[in-house]
Amino acid sequence: MDQSHIRNFSIIAHIDHGKSTLADRILELTDAVSAREMREQVLDTMDLERERGITIKAQAVRVTWKGHELNLIDTPGHVDFTYEVSRSLQACEGALLVVDAAQGIEAQTLANAYLAIENGLEIVPVANKIDLPQADPEGTAVEVADLLGDDPSRVIRISAKTGTNVAEVLDAIVERVPAPEGDPDAASRALVFDSSYDQYRGVVAFVRVVDGSFARRESLQSMATGTRFEAEELGFFSPTMRPVDSLSAGEVGYVITGLKDVSRLRVGDTITSVARRAKQPLPGYKDVKPMVFAGLFPTDSDAYPELRDALERLKLNDAALFYEPETSQALGFGFRCGFLGLLHMEIVRERLEREFDLDLLVTAPNVAYRVQEKSSDEWREVHNPAEFPREVEEVEEPYVKASIIVPKEYVGTVMEQNNDRRGTFDHLEYLSPERVHLTYELPLAEIVLDYYDQLKSRTRGYASFDYDMIGFKPGDLVRVDVLVGGEPVDALSLIVYRDFAYERGRLLVEKLREEIPRQMFDVPIQAAIGARVIARETVKARRKDVLAKCYGGDITRKRKLLEKQKAGKRRMKQVGAVEVPQEAFLAVLNIGKGQQ
């Protein structure tokens, strides 16, 4: 199709603001799918997404409206996938900014709206859910227009649920969103904005053709990773797969590559033709690096091979997931895994437990550190507190810019929380007379441990929160080790800001004293920085543990009790002579909770 009749757009919305419902209405209205055959919310495919109300893997759907080809590119809705969102946005010329008229703008909306503006997209603002009695379409329109520097009258008031004014939205896309402007005759280039792995067909890349065109069976190459493959099939979704012979400039579709691993064709990479190779890749490719790390150990150490296979299979579909074998003295064999952020970690963990039926022990998450050891001028990255050198010349930790929107009465408590967490105030503005947008720079490490939970409880659930990585900065950090019965427990080591070390160490040993059952001997629990003990507690020895009576009538029952006791020991992790229940390794997750 002639590029002037193509419109590529995505939908930006906070969770539950109605993105999926609007997408459904668009598909219905354009006859892409009949109401009868329509499953609720066709774009979200995975159960998990449906349950969480978020979209992990983007897809693109082609519809036609009044002689135009409209490509709706779905974007992931969460902070951890900022890079994927930015690639999806780069594949578009416009975006619908959908705001719940009963809720107003939320932090995630804001972050993605800014991202869209930075990418030069035409924003079509939409106030949704006007059918709700508590909706304030006018106030929302003013808030959104202020954000965009637009006129409130251009904010389309709709109800995706009832279908009210959805046709106007489609008209606005045709009218306001610019047509693609690539060169159809130039060497071909396509942006990979997402990919997924199919068991039978290999890697399926979702692409936006920018210049030139691609034909079926053509030999192709990715420019960043250099991977060569053949276009086994080209096509688009409408909303099911429709194969075509070629995709040309301005169009959005899929390429079936036959590749066996998504990491060989990364999001953000540029695909070109081997025969007519483009000179320059499309801008913006980044090798996304995991920033949050945690150890994953099977609860039953015999399940290690299953965990390895499961991670291998997840990795096929999730290029951002990183893992390497880890051996912990305390927890045995497992994997140190890297994630884009906390939500990504939670999703991976849930998929492992749900889809692969694994019972996992996940250690407290930590961030990536850049470390320069004494007597060395080389920097290296450390992903595991147990590998953090005790003597460091310099350390850097990742920082984020946190964006928080709250009703004005909570500004004080939010500022207090950020100050307690080593935050540096950046900016404050009123979005409306009632709502304030605050930004802070914070170490990522401060966010990783229950920051969001605490923010929610301080603001009675009213705060919305988002963050963006802004790079590494120096930090005065120390490694705190925990010794149980005199033996260091690698899985409990933590890296903390020096001023917080005593408090954290004290809370951690207190928590451990509650978690570790009494043994047949006294068990000292210590927190130490190097050789210096900063906190200590003792689990007193048990003085008796016998089965009171045992005669002919109850030998079987007593034997079973002992066998159960023995089996209970097996579930414990042995630290030296001390039996430590697995839950104790999560103690570090719970320190600091219940303080305020």
């Binding site: 047949m520 016998v546 002919g552 009538g553 007593k558 009790l561 002992l562 023995k566 097996r570």
Partner: protein
């Protein structure tokens, strides 16, 4: 077959105590004769497994609550044995009963005293008062019994250290040849746990050293701590129970009674009506070599005598044994295993440690 130990269960009681989880039947005096008939019928059926008996033990329930004539008929029919024990509640022991038991060949009486503090006997719902215990004891002595045992319970809700020391002193003053001292077990589902469970949990820490006090006091009074919960003077161990702890086979007859014979354990129905009808509805458990070895370990380590390890090697976890030795809880000498004093206080945990995976 050569079973040398016979257990006879007599389930009848005047009252079911709140903490009890044995097979009991309250009252039912109209069934006593039928029950003794049923016992004798079962005994006749099983008799061929018995060799010359070493011990007979009449347990309950309250054996001495059974109608005296029926009890005598039963005793008259039982095979002779070196040790014949009858369990008795103090309030049931009259001079006549004591003489009758003695005359019927009973060699040993085990008296359920439990405590000498009236308020604690109340908590336990026991029918006897402290003086009943003393009187019963005197009657038994007068009848010529030279092997008497007292049961004591400690760790009773509201029991202070002074209460405990008083109970031990009162028991020692009677100079029984044998004492069984049990920590009160609040078993899940019993009426007692329902009423006292929370209180017991609250006092657990305060009562933590009661076991140590019991052992120290009785050893101080010249008793031998020959089994986790049992003490004796001279050589007056309970030979019947020793049979269990040494892993001997035994035949149990009566409602709910358990037998272990030649690698098979079976339990009669706990339902009185079924048992009376001769329907034993036995629950059978096959004991393989590994299970038997684990039981030998569990039972043998309750005793003060060293446990010979020959044949038990595969039931032992060598790493667990090494840990227990290192912690000073167990000692291995001449291919036999002994728990140290502290090891015996922690006997259950140590055994779990020693059991092979």
């Amino acid at each position: 077959m050569s079973v040398r130990h016979l257990y006879v269960h007599l389930p009848f009681c005047a009252h079911r105590c709140g903490y009890c989880d044995f097979v009991t039947a309250v009252g039912r005096s109209d069934r006593h004769a039928a029950y003794v008939d049923a016992l004798l019928r079962e005994l006749a059926q099983e008799r061929r497994v018995l060799a010359d008996l070493e011990t007979v033990f009449l347990g309950g329930g309250t054996p001495t609550f059974t109608a005296v004539s029926e009890l005598m008929r039963l005793l008259g029919e039982l095979p002779a044995a070196q040790e014949v024990t009858v369990e008795a509640n103090p309030e049931t022991v009259t001079p006549a009963l004591a003489r009758t038991l003695r005359g019927a060949g009973v060699t040993r009486v085990s008296l359920g005293a439990q405590s000498f503090r009236p308020h604690l006997l109340g908590v336990l719902e026991r029918g006897a008062q402290p003086d009943d215990v003393r009187r019963a004891f005197a009657h038994l002595r007068d009848a010529g019994f030279d092997n008497l045992s007292l049961d004591l319970i400690y760790g009773i809700p509201n029991q202070t250290v002074t209460d405990l020391e008083g109970d031990l002193a009162d028991a020692i003053a009677l100079a029984p040849e044998h004492l069984s001292c049990y920590e009160l077990e609040a078993k899940p589902g019993t009426r007692f746990t329902h009423a006292w469970g929370e209180e017991l949990a609250r006092q657990a820490e305060a009562m933590e050293d009661y076991f140590e006090r019991v052992v120290a006091t009785l050893i101080g009074a010249g008793y031998r701590w020959y089994e986790t919960a049992n003490f004796c003077r001279g050589n007056k161990r309970s030979l019947h129970n020793l049979g269990y702890w040494l892993g001997h086979d035994y035949l149990g007859i009566g409602v709910g009674a358990v037998s272990t014979i030649g690698g098979e354990r079976r339990r009669n129905t706990p339902k009185l009506s079924r048992y009376l009808a001769g329907d034993y509805a036995r629950e059978v458990e096959a004991l393989d070599d590994g299970t038997r070895a684990r039981e030998r370990l569990m039972l043998g380590l309750r005793l003060d005598d060293p446990l010979p390890l020959a044949g038990l090697e595969h039931a032992l976890d060598p790493a667990g044994l090494a840990r227990a030795e290192k912690l000073g809880l167990a000692e291995q000498r001449d291919a036999a295993l002994t728990l140290t004093e502290r090891g015996r206080f922690l006997g259950g945990a140590v055994t779990a440690e020693l059991l092979a995976r």
